[in-house]
C-alpha cells in the first residue's frame, strides 16, 4: 500500500463529470441580486460626472454605486480612468437582463486624455502621465548586478545589442471571473472564483474593516486561473460591500468581453540588452534592462520584471551581469502573473541569447549550452538565488538524448527532401517554484478515517488527489479513508493558495507533517491503551501480543478513555526549489501562407519526486500548449489610443484541438529531491517555461529550412503575416 508515485485517476472528477460541479455562477442564494460594472470606453479620461438617475428608475434596479459612494466604491481614483474597461460605477439589479439594460443607462461625462500605450514611449519625457502624482511613468526601477559587466563586454570577442519581447497575453481561464457575497448579520460569506481564498478573506476584512473571524470565503469549483485569479480585484471587495450595504446576496459574473477588460494580463516584458561572448560560444556578460508593461496600476509589473531579471542567468556560468528591472505604467489593464510569472520570460530571453550565440559562432545550439551550463547544484546564481539541487549539465545531455532531439532534426531534413517544411527548437530551463508558508490540518475521525483540510486552493491541477496519496502513505491507511477538503476558510484558518507550482510541495508538505504529528499523538494514546511501547504499521499499533487499530484508538479518545490530540495543524514554511529540464518543439510550416502548426512537444524534466505521474502529465500537456500558443497564436492588440482590438475569443485566439501538438514528456529517471518533506519541486509552470523558447526557435528553424535564409525572431507572437513576409519579402 504505497500511493506516492502511482498514476491514480483523480478523486476530483466525479462531481465534475456528473453535473454536480458548482462554479460561482451555479450557486444561487435566496433573494440574490446581480451586479455589473459600467466600464470606461476610453483608455485615459477624466471623469467629470456620473449620472445614475435614469438607471435607478429602471425596472428591477436596486442600487447604483458611483465614485461618490465612498470607499470601497472609490472608482476612478484621482478623478480619472486609466485603461479601457476600468470600472466607473456598479449597478445592482434583480436579474441579469434588468442589469444589462441598466448598465447602458448610467451616463458618464468623460474628458478624454491622450493615452500612452507603448512602455518605451511611456518612459520618454513629455509622455502623458498615467499617474500624475508620480511625476513619471516609471513606477519602479531597481538594479540587479554582479561582477563587472562593462569590463566583461569590453573583453568579449563579440557583442550583440538588441531587444527581445514577450508580448502581453490573456490568461484565458475558461471560467470568467465571478463572485457571490452574502451577509447574515454575523458572517460575510463569499463564494469566489479565486486561486487564493485566504488572501481574499484578508483583503475583504481589511478593506471593509470587519474582523477576520466574521469573513468566510469559499472557493467553489474554479474553471481555471493560470495566475489571473491570484490578484484580489477591486470587484471582489465591492461585491462584498454591496451585499453588506443592501443586506441581500449579490452576485457578479464577468462576461467574457468584460473579463478581457479587467483581468490581469500576462507576460508583457521586454529585454533591451547587450551581450558579450567569446568566439568559442561562452557567454561573458549581459547588460540591459527588463521592462515591464505594467499597465495602469503596478500590481505585479515590477515583481515580474524583478523575477525575470534575477532568473536571467538561468543555470549558465555567466557572472558579469548588470540588469535593471523597470516597471512602466501604461493605459492598459494591469499586468499580473500568468503561468510561470517571470520565469518563462527569463527563459525566453536567455535561450534566445543562447540561440543567438549559436548563430553568431556557427556552433550547434546544444554545444553552446553545453559550454555554458553550470555542471551541478547547489549553485548560487550571481543575482542572489540559491538553486537547491540538480545536475544541470548531465540532465541536459540526458534530455537531448531522451527527447531524440537530433533524430528530430535529421527527420526534418529528410522531410524537406519530400517537400514538407518542419522546424525543430530546443530549450534548457531552470525555474523557481514554491514560496511562503502553507497550512494543513489533519483530523482523525471515529472510525479511523481522516479529513485533511488544506490552505492551498487547487482549481484543476488535481492536488487533492496528490495530497490524499501523500497522507495515506504517511498514515499507512487506504486512500479511501482519506478525504481532502480545500477552498474554505472555515476548514483551515490560513494559507496562501495555489500558484507558483507550490501546492504539492508546500501544501503537501504541510499535510504530510500534520499527519505525522497526529500519528505520534495517536501512538502515545495507543501505548497507554496497550500498556507498553508500541509499533505501528498499516493501521494497527502492536505491543507484544496485544494490538489496537487506529480507529479503536481514536474511538477511545473520543470516549474519554485516554487523552490525545485528534487534530494536528501544521504551519509549514517553504523555501524556493528549482525544477529544470529540456523542452523540444517541432512545428510544421506552410511556406505558401506563413502558417505554422505545432506537431510535437517533447520534454525531459527533473521535477524532484513525482507524487502522481498522471497529474504531472496533465500539467505538462496543458502548460506546453500555453507556451507554444504564446509564440504561434495569441496576440493582444491595442491601437494607439489604447483601444483593445482583441476584446474576446472571436479576436483573441486560444488554440483548438486541431491546433495542438502531440506531447511526449519524460521525467528524469534519477530525480533530484528538493529538501521539502515531499521531495517534490513542482511542475505546473515548467512546461510553459520551456516551450515558448523552444517554439520560437522551431519556427526560426522552419523558416531557414524553407528559404535557406537565417532569420532572427525577437518577439512573440510571430504572426503568419510576419512569417510570410520573412519568407517572401
Amino acid at each position: 500500500m504505497r500511493y506516492v508515485g502511482k498514476p491514480l485517476p483523480r478523486l476530483e472528477d466525479y462531481h465534475l463529470l456528473y453535473g454536480q460541479a458548482r462554479y460561482v455562477d451555479d450557486i444561487e442564494l435566496p433573494g440574490m441580486l446581480y451586479a455589473g460594472f459600467v466600464r470606461s470606453p476610453y483608455a485615459h479620461a477624466r471623469v467629470r460626472r456620473v449620472d445614475a438617475s435614469e438607471a435607478l428608475s429602471m425596472p428591477g434596479v436596486v442600487a447604483v454605486f458611483t465614485p461618490q459612494s465612498g470607499k470601497p466604491f472609490d472608482f476612478a481614483p484621482g478623478g480619472k480612468v486609466r485603461y479601457q474597461g476600468e470600472a466607473v460605477a456598479m449597478v445592482v439589479a434583480v436579474d441579469r437582463y434588468a442589469l444589462y439594460d441598466a448598465l447602458e443607462k448610467v451616463y458618464v461625462d468623460y474628458e478624454p486624455l491622450p493615452a500612452v500605450v507603448d512602455p518605451v514611449k511611456a518612459m520618454e519625457p513629455g509622455a502623458p502621465l498615467v499617474d500624475e502624482s508620480l511625476g513619471t511613468n516609471v513606477s519602479r526601477r531597481e538594479k540587479y548586478a554582479s561582477g563587472d559587466a562593462e569590463r566583461a563586454l569590453a573583453s568579449s570577442d563579440k557583442v550583440v545589442e538588441e531587444e527581445l519581447v514577450t508580448n502581453r497575453v490573456v490568461p484565458s481561464a475558461m471560467e470568467p471571473h465571478g463572485v457571490l457575497a452574502s451577509h447574515d448579520g454575523k458572517t460575510l460569506l463569499i463564494y469566489d472564483s479565486t486561486q487564493k481564498p485566504h488572501i481574499v478573506r484578508r483583503e475583504v476584512a481589511r478593506s471593509l474593516d470587519v474582523p477576520l473571524a466574521a469573513v468566510r470565503v469559499i472557493q467553489p469549483d474554479v474553471g481555471g486561473g493560470f495566475g489571473s485569479k491570484i490578484q484580489v480585484y477591486p470587484e471582489e471587495v465591492r461585491v462584498a460591500a454591496a451585499a453588506m450595504a443592501l443586506r441581500r446576496p449579490v452576485k457578479w459574473i464577468a462576461t467574457r468581453s468584460e473579463d478581457f477588460k479587467m483581468t490581469t494580463y500576462g507576460r508583457g516584458l521586454m529585454l533591451r540588452y547587450k551581450a558579450g561572448f567569446t568566439r568559442d560560444g561562452v557567454l561573458k556578460a549581459i547588460k540591459g534592462e527588463v521592462i515591464a508593461d505594467a499597465g495602469a496600476y503596478d500590481w505585479f509589473g515590477f515583481d515580474l520584471a524583478a523575477t525575470a531579471a534575477t532568473m536571467l542567468p538561468a543555470a549558465y556560468k555567466v557572472r558579469d551581469l548588470d540588469i535593471d528591472a523597470v516597471s512602466v505604467l501604461t493605459n492598459k489593464p494591469p499586468l499580473g502573473p500568468y503561468r510561470g510569472a517571470g520565469r518563462p520570460e527569463a527563459t525566453f530571453f536567455i535561450e534566445r541569447i543562447m540561440d543567438l550565440i549559436a548563430d553568431e559562432t556557427g556552433l550547434d545550439p546544444v554545444e553552446v549550452r553545453r559550454r555554458n551550463l553550470v555542471p551541478a547544484g547547489p549553485y548560487d546564481n550571481p543575482l542572489g538565488l540559491h538553486y537547491d539541487s540538480g545536475e544541470y549539465l548531465a540532465t541536459f545531455e540526458r534530455g537531448i538524448a531522451a527527447t531524440g532531439y537530433y533524430d528530430l532534426v535529421r527527420n526534418a531534413e529528410a522531410e524537406k527532401a519530400r517537400g514538407r517544411v518542419l522546424g525543430v527548437g530546443m530549450s534548457f530551463y531552470i525555474e523557481i517554484t514554491t514560496y511562503g508558508h502553507e497550512v494543513a490540518i489533519v483530523r482523525a475521525e471515529r472510525d479511523g478515517s481522516f479529513t485533511v483540510a488544506v490552505g492551498i486552493a487547487p482549481h484543476g491541477q488535481g492536488d487533492a488527489t496528490g495530497i490524499a496519496q501523500l497522507v495515506a502513505d504517511e498514515l499507512q491507511v487506504p486512500i479511501e479513508r482519506v478525504r481532502v477538503v480545500w477552498g474554505d476558510t472555515d476548514a483551515v484558518p490560513d494559507g496562501i493558495g495555489t500558484d507558483g507550482s507550490r501546492s504539492i510541495t508546500a501544501g503537501g508538505s504541510a499535510a504530510l507533517l500534520a499527519a505525522r504529528r497526529l500519528l505520534e499523538e495517536l501512538k502515545k494514546a495507543a501505548e497507554e491503551l496497550l500498556g507498553g511501547p508500541a509499533t505501528y504499521s498499516d493501521g494497527t499499533f502492536k505491543s507484544g501480543d496485544k494490538s489496537v487499530t487506529i480507529g479503536e484508538v481514536v474511538e477511545a479518545v473520543y470516549r474519554g478513555k485516554v487523552r490525545a490530540q485528534l487534530e494536528a495543524m501544521e504551519v509549514y514554511k517553504a523555501r524556493a526549489t528549482f525544477p529544470y529540464g529540456v523542452g523540444v518543439v517541432v512545428v510544421e510550416l506552410d511556406p505558401e501562407t506563413g502558417l505554422a502548426r505545432p506537431l510535437l512537444y517533447r520534454s525531459y524534466d527533473d521535477i524532484g519526486v513525482v507524487v502522481n505521474p498522471l497529474l504531472v502529465e496533465g500539467q505538462i500537456h496543458g502548460g506546453a500548449l500555453q507556451g507554444i500558443s504564446q509564440v504561434l497564436y495569441e496576440q493582444v492588440v491595442y491601437d494607439q489610443d489604447g483601444n483593445l482590438a482583441t476584446p474576446n475569443f472571436a479576436f483573441y485566439h486560444v488554440p483548438k484541438a486541431t491546433e495542438a501538438p502531440r506531447y511526449e514528456p519524460r521525467l528524469a529517471e534519477t530525480p533530484h529531491r528538493s529538501d521539502h518533506p515531499t521531495g517534490t519541486k513542482g511542475v505546473g509552470e515548467a512546461p510553459t517555461v520551456a516551450s515558448a523558447a523552444a517554439a520560437i526557435k522551431a519556427l526560426e528553424d522552419a523558416i531557414r529550412r524553407a528559404t535557406g535564409k537565417r532569420v532572427r525572431l525577437r518577439s512573440t507572437p510571430v504572426t503568419p503575416e510576419e512569417v510570410y513576409r520573412l519568407i517572401h519579402g
Binding site: L17, M174, D221, R256, Q461, G622, K656
Partner: protein, 148 residues
Amino acid sequence: MRIKVKVNGVWYERDVEPRKLLVHFLRDDLGIKSVRVGCDTGNCGACTVLLDGKPVKSCNLLAVQADGSEIITADYSDELMERLKRAFHERHALQCGFCTSGMLLASYALLKNKPKPTEEEIREGISGVLCRCTGYQNIVEAIKSAAL
C-alpha cells in the same frame, strides 16, 4: 412566450421572455447548471448542448428557437455517455472541468455519427470547444478509447 422543450428525456413547458438565451433558460429556469457560459461570442463552446441531435452553442440561440425540440445536456445518461465519462476519468481528460460538459456533448455527437473516428476527425469534432487546461491530447485519447 410559452415554449415546450424536452430536456434529457423530460418535457418542460415554461413562459420565457423572447430575448432570453437558451443557455440562461436551461441554467436559470430549469436549473441545469452543467451547461456553462464561458464567452459571449460562441467561440468557447462551454455552453454546447445537443439540439435534436446536433451540437449547438446554447448562448447563441434564443430559448424560443428551441420550442418543440429535444435537448440533451451532459447530465443525460445512456450507455455511450457513461462510456465517455468513464474514459474521461480514466484518461485524465479533464482538469478544471469547465469545458467538460461541452467536450462530452461534442464527442457524444461525434461518436453517434461516426462510431470509429480517426484522430483527425476527433480533433475536428471537438474543435468547437476550447480547453485551456489539458492541451487536448488526453481528451482525444479518452474519445478514442470510448469509441472502441
